[in-house]
């Protein structure tokens, strides 16, 4: 069956044509088009002419303090949210890795924040963290006295930043949890028993048995989640306008300041960063954990 290369070629072309065509038209071509647009001063209005400006968009961007600041905020957001959601996901997976009543139901409930649309979750959070009548400030100030003064969650850049990081951890830890739980269930329990006989402590068992077993999944989760959070737009944009991560910076450059050329040059710079990550991670990341 593997030796009929010639007849397969024709069929492969036909079967792959729609996928390849769509990807070429709506991914590859746009990416190249980004490079072209990045050399122009291009207004959003199609009736206005584009002017060739050479590398001006790039020099503008790379000397723009706001861009550098935005990159810094994005990296910090990414690191904190990846670390938080991965660590929490792993802790909960270890916690769940034993038989108990209602395990299946509890697992399904934990996943809820991951499968619910952002827009619904964002409304709930905006309501809960409302400055005036939100339940979080009510609990934090009046009931538990955690803060002296109610934080204005959506108006202050620092508290807004904390808010979007907490949101990302809460929303994305179930993904890590499920992936870790699946791999933990394949770990041979005799490994733990052997370690116990050797007098290993809980920490030693974790370091010497659990960590090596989950390593491939851990690398995959950290890589993918880092990339997705680095390019995050929707969650943060809908929650607050005080955290200017790179996705929002790019979006607003294009559609709020109507500077498509500059936005395209940001896309190209980000694409270069992404390419480096892809090349570095290619050998180590699996797409589907069922393998």
């Amino acid at each position: 069956m593997k030796n009929r290369g010639k007849s397969d070629m024709k069929l492969a072309l036909v079967l792959l044509f729609p996928s390849v065509f769509l990807v070429l038209l709506l991914v590859a071509y746009p990416m190249i088009s980004n490079i072209r647009i990045s050399f122009f001063d291009l207004p959003i209005n199609p009736r206005l002419d584009a002017a060739f400006v050479g590398l001006k968009n790039y020099t503008d961007i790379l000397t723009d303090v706001e861009f550098i600041k935005s990159l810094g905020i994005t990296v910090l957001y990414m690191i904190l949210a990846v670390a938080g959601s991965t660590a929490l996901g792993l802790a909960v997976a270890i916690f769940f890795n034993r038989p108990f009543k209602f395990r299946k139901a509890a697992r399904s409930l934990i996943i809820l924040s991951y499968v619910t649309p952002s827009i619904s979750l964002v409304f709930a959070w905006k309501y809960m963290f409302n400055n005036g009548y939100g339940v979080i400030n009510h609990l934090g100030v009046d009931v538990f006295h955690l803060f002296d003064k109610a934080p204005l969650w959506f108006d202050n850049p620092v508290s807004s930043f904390i808010l979007v990081v907490l949101f990302a951890i809460w929303r994305y830890f179930p993904y890590a949890f499920i992936s870790f739980l699946a791999i933990l269930q394949t770990v041979d329990s005799s490994l733990y028993e052997a370690a116990e006989i050797d007098g290993a402590s809980t920490w030693e068992k974790f370091r010497n048995v659990t960590i090596p077993a989950i390593m491939p999944v851990l690398i995959t989760i950290i890589t993918l989640r880092s990339i997705w959070l680095f390019y995050m737009f929707t969650d943060v944009y809908l929650l607050t306008n005080k955290v200017n991560i790179i996705g929002i910076y790019l979006y607003e450059t294009a559609f709020a300041f109507n500077d498509l050329g500059k936005a395209a040059s940001i896309s190209v710079i980000l694409f270069i960063i992404l390419s480096i990550v892809i090349i570095a991670s290619r050998k180590r990341v699996k797409f589907n954990g069922n393998g």
């Binding site: 069956m1 199609p46 619910t116 827009i119 709930a124 339940v135 929707t234 809908l238 589907n288």
Partner: protein, 284 residues
């Protein structure tokens, strides 16, 4: 004596475990609880400075209101979202099946290149493509149409669809196909009569995944759509939120109904399918 204390120990550990579990669930589900309770509160109670957990006066008014087109365009948004998500998911699955079959079962030159380029696309975020896509969609005359959104959603989900389906197809033994060929089935018949039925759980997972991505999309809807008659739920609800006269209970009721199709689909696929989408590196 020793046995009694170990029994006691066990009971204590059990209590500790369930306390931890409940604490975890409370934190995890708290926003959902607030959403649900607020949707039953009247407008005044929802903004009381002394927030209540449970409504003092339960009301179903918000649920009645969101389904009344004179008050709230929720149904129109819902219908648009459903059209976009269903069409995009169906096409993504169909195109994905063909592509995945070729990559899984056929021998041809350029296979590695195609695999590698889909891998790149898989990692590529939509945000990097907003500028040129906006130009292309406008150039094609598709600005402010649902078609623009459907096509974009197909492309956004396609690489994941193909990789997920491929991993399911890879588990189907070649012998089965060879037997079918001896019985006189051609490749296309094999796809429809052998591969699809055998990989049906994977196909459903991919459908649910694609549906969710399309249902949740805010980014592309916000740049492609301008007439509120075309709005999908995320962009429509967010636009309502920006107006001064939104009512919390109504927004919460709308949020819950918005979540219902995807959560329901997910629950069904979770129930019937072993090894579903969240158990892999699915984009999201």
């Amino acid at each position: 004596m020793a046995m009694a204390s170990s029994k006691k120990n066990k009971a204590a550990r059990k209590i500790g475990f369930y306390t931890g579990l409940i604490a975890l669930l409370v934190v995890s589900l708290f926003p959902f609880f607030i959403m649900l309770m607020t949707s039953f509160k009247n407008s005044k109670e929802a903004v009381a400075t002394e927030p209540t957990f449970f409504p003092k006066h339960w009301t179903l008014q918000h649920y009645v209101d969101i389904f009344n087109p004179d008050i709230f365009p929720f149904l129109s948004y819902f219908k648009n979202s459903l059209t976009v998500a269903l069409t995009a998911a169906l096409l993504s699955v169909l195109i994905g099946i063909f592509g995945a079959y070729a990559l899984s079962k056929l021998n041809f030159i350029g296979k590695t290149t195609i695999n590698a380029s889909f891998y790149t696309v898989y990692m590529l975020s939509g945000i990097l493509l907003v500028v040129p896509l906006f130009k292309i969609i406008s150039g094609l005359g598709l600005y402010d149409t649902k078609t623009a959104l459907i096509i974009t959603m197909i492309v956004q989900t396609l690489p994941t669809s193909i990789f997920m389906l491929k991993s399911y197809f890879d588990t189907i033994p070649d012998d089965l196909e060879e037997a079918a060929m001896i019985d006189g089935l051609n490749r296309v018949q094999i796809i429809f009569y052998i591969i699809i039925p055998l990989a049906i759980s994977g196909i459903i997972s991919v459908f649910v995944y694609s549906f969710m991505v399309a249902w949740n999309d805010y980014l592309f809807a916000s740049i492609f759509l301008s007439d509120s008659a075309n709005f999908t739920l995320p962009i429509g609800l967010n636009a309502l939120f920006s107006t001064p006269d939104y009512i919390w209970g109504r927004m919460m009721a709308a949020s819950l109904i918005t979540a219902l199709p995807v959560v329901g689909m997910y629950a069904i696929s979770e129930h019937f399918i072993k090894g579903n989408m969240t158990e892999g590196g699915v984009k999201g």
